[in-house]
């Protein structure tokens, strides 16, 4: 290896397609729905039949403005649609209605965290509205086309080539998804294809100002796949350049099974889209008052919420970060805090036992039979020593299974802690007899041995003994005597 090995810099830009969760499609009144039988959600507009005319869905335009505002974009006061011409069976009218030179949103930004605890700003070039194409399934002998997805409203969010590593690309996607999830504009489900990401990547010698030749990566179906595909592709480009060859500008498909990028040998002709204004749609004007109205109604976004939770409820950044990952969880948290003062305790429950139950049930916090009132009631049962923390976790599971309150369950199952001196004394008598050696250790000053006896007491009482009380009684008996 030579000492003058070339150092490369990676340059990544991302194009994210967000399916908007409007009730109907972008340009017709067919239902915008996933998973129906092929070609059951189509009309003459979807099929591009002669004489059919598109009409813009007002809601889709509103959603686009909402997203633009949340991403700090400027909103164009004049919006028009254009035809992007291409021939492929997924698009029966041979053009996609998109936006060329007057995208609805432009010049925004997203901040991503960096390793040194600060943040880096990734520019957003533009975000434009367009319609989705149909779905192709390739069989051995033919391709099969389902036009249900045709006309689904998409917002394509194009970033600046500001990312310098696959991890930065991953962080950008996470942040974008988090913001989108707060806006009620998309279900953001990658498995359903509601969020799709293509990546442009190139390398250049460190310090160079010109960009290298880029390749476009497609077909990644998770954020992790985007990161892995980028790692693979950057490595491939390094090898090409170091061997003295040139990177060819092309579209590559990520093959998740082979874990490699493969050249897309499609029968689609070279890209020459010949954009021109869509004659079937008149232009749109967006008034400043409309934009102000949208901004006014934006929910509190993840980042301000994070900072407020840290400030107002004294949460650690780590705890607050997990809480705000889902808007419904953040709301749940705040509803608890309206009736209970200890944010740290509530967050421990939400990020611990409640999260486990949610995962076990594969459900959101809103779907697990739990209200903020019920959770707070349970936490208070631990506070006042009615039950131990351990038993409380079991009670939580039973609450969710039965829909009953913690009080009802503790009553029915007789789970209330035994704190009564008499009953506990009898229990300790047994333990002292059974564990003479431990008793000696405690008397010799080994504090941790007390914990062992408390553990045994919990076991014997099936979790019902008050551990604090047991510990005190053991110490009093063995040490003070």
């Amino acid at each position: 290896m030579t000492t003058t090995q070339t150092q490369f810099e990676t340059v990544i830009g991302l194009e994210v397609h967000v399916q908007l969760s409007t009730h109907t499609k972008m340009f017709c009144s067919c239902q915008n729905i996933f998973g129906e039988d092929p070609n059951t959600q189509v009309c003459p507009v979807c099929l591009g039949l002669p004489g059919s005319l598109p009409v813009v869905n007002k809601k889709a335009l509103e959603f686009a403005i909402r997203i633009g505002c949340a991403l700090g974009c400027k909103i164009n006061s004049f919006v028009k649609f254009d035809r992007k011409n291409y021939y492929y069976p997924d698009c029966p009218k041979n053009y996609q209605i998109s936006q060329f030179d007057k995208p609805i949103c432009y010049e925004g930004a997203i901040d991503i965290p960096t390793e040194d605890g600060t943040h880096k700003t990734i520019g957003i070039t533009r975000a434009h509205l367009e319609e989705d194409a149909g779905k192709l399934v390739h069989a051995d002998d033919c391709s099969l086309v389902d036009y249900n997805r045709t006309g689904t409203p998409l917002l394509e969010i194009v970033s600046e080539p500001d990312m310098r590593s696959p991890q930065e690309a991953y962080d950008y996607l996470q942040k974008l998804k988090l913001i989108l999830s707060y806006l009620d504009v998309s279900d953001c489900d990658m498995e359903k294809g509601s969020l799709r990401c293509d990546a442009n990547v190139s390398i250049r010698e460190m310090g160079a100002t010109e960009f290298g030749t880029k390749t476009e990566l497609k077909n990644m179906n998770s954020f992790k796949a985007v990161r892995t595909a980028l790692e693979y592709e950057i490595n491939r480009q390094h090898k090409v350049v170091l061997s003295g060859d040139k990177v060819i500008q092309e579209t590559l498909l990520w093959d998740e099974n082979k874990m490699m990028t493969v050249s897309m040998r499609s029968k689609e002709a070279a890209h020459d889209y010949r954009y021109f204004p869509e004659p079937d749609l008149v232009p749109f004007t967006v008034e400043q008052s409309t934009i102000d109205e949208v901004k006014h109604h934006l929910p509190e976004l993840p980042e301000p919420k994070l900072n407020r939770f840290i400030d107002e409820y004294k949460l650690s950044e780590y705890d607050a970060t997990i809480i705000i990952q889902e808007r419904c969880k953040a709301n749940f948290f705040e509803d608890c805090l309206k009736i209970y003062p200890d944010g740290k305790k509530v967050s421990n429950w939400l990020n611990g036992a409640v999260l486990q139950e949610m995962n076990a049930r594969k459900s959101e916090i809103t779907d697990i039979n739990l209200t903020p009132e019920r959770l707070v009631e349970l936490i208070k049962k631990v506070d006042d020593d009615t039950i131990s923390n351990l038993v409380a976790k079991d009670v939580l599971g039973m609450m969710l299974d039965s829909g009953k309150s913690s009080a009802e369950i503790i009553d029915e199952k007789g789970l209330a802690q035994v704190s009564d001196d008499g009953a506990l004394d009898a229990l300790i008598d047994e333990l002292v007899n059974e564990h003479q050696n431990i008793v000696e250790q405690i008397k010799a000053g080994k504090d941790s041995a007390v914990g062992f006896l408390v553990g045994q007491a919990m076991k014997k009482s099936q979790g019902k003994a008050n551990p604090k009380k047991v510990g005190e009684l053991i110490k009093r008996r063995l040490l003070d005597g």
């Binding site: 492929y88 020459d272 004007t285």
Partner: protein, 94 residues
């Protein structure tokens, strides 16, 4: 100048299959059309707003309300070939 290759390229983009003898005459036609556009290019349009639509209308919307789609049996009548409710086309990926 429009070359024969330009004509073939443009025809290819639009999936128009030309006979060899058609290329020459289309080349002349295209040259005339492009020539006319070039004439227009000479006009000074500095202060004129680009026209994006011939109709003097803006903001034509539709409310987000679902209406019934076509019945699939109806839809598939226009399919040249079909399988399992999907349009069957020649394989488009290798």
């Amino acid at each position: 100048m429009i070359s024969e290759d330009d004509v073939k390229y443009v025809a290819g983009l639009s999936r128009i299959y030309l006979q060899d003898h058609e290329v020459g005459s289309l080349q002349k036609d295209l040259e005339k059309i492009i020539g006319y556009v070039e004439k227009l290019q000479k006009l000074d349009v500095t202060d004129i707003e680009p026209t994006s639509h011939a109709l003097p209308l803006t903001n034509v919307f539709r409310d987000d309300e679902i209406k019934p789609s076509l019945d699939r049996t109806e839809t598939m009548k226009i399919a040249v070939d079909q399988r399992d409710g999907a349009f069957k086309v020649p394989k488009v990926i290798e």
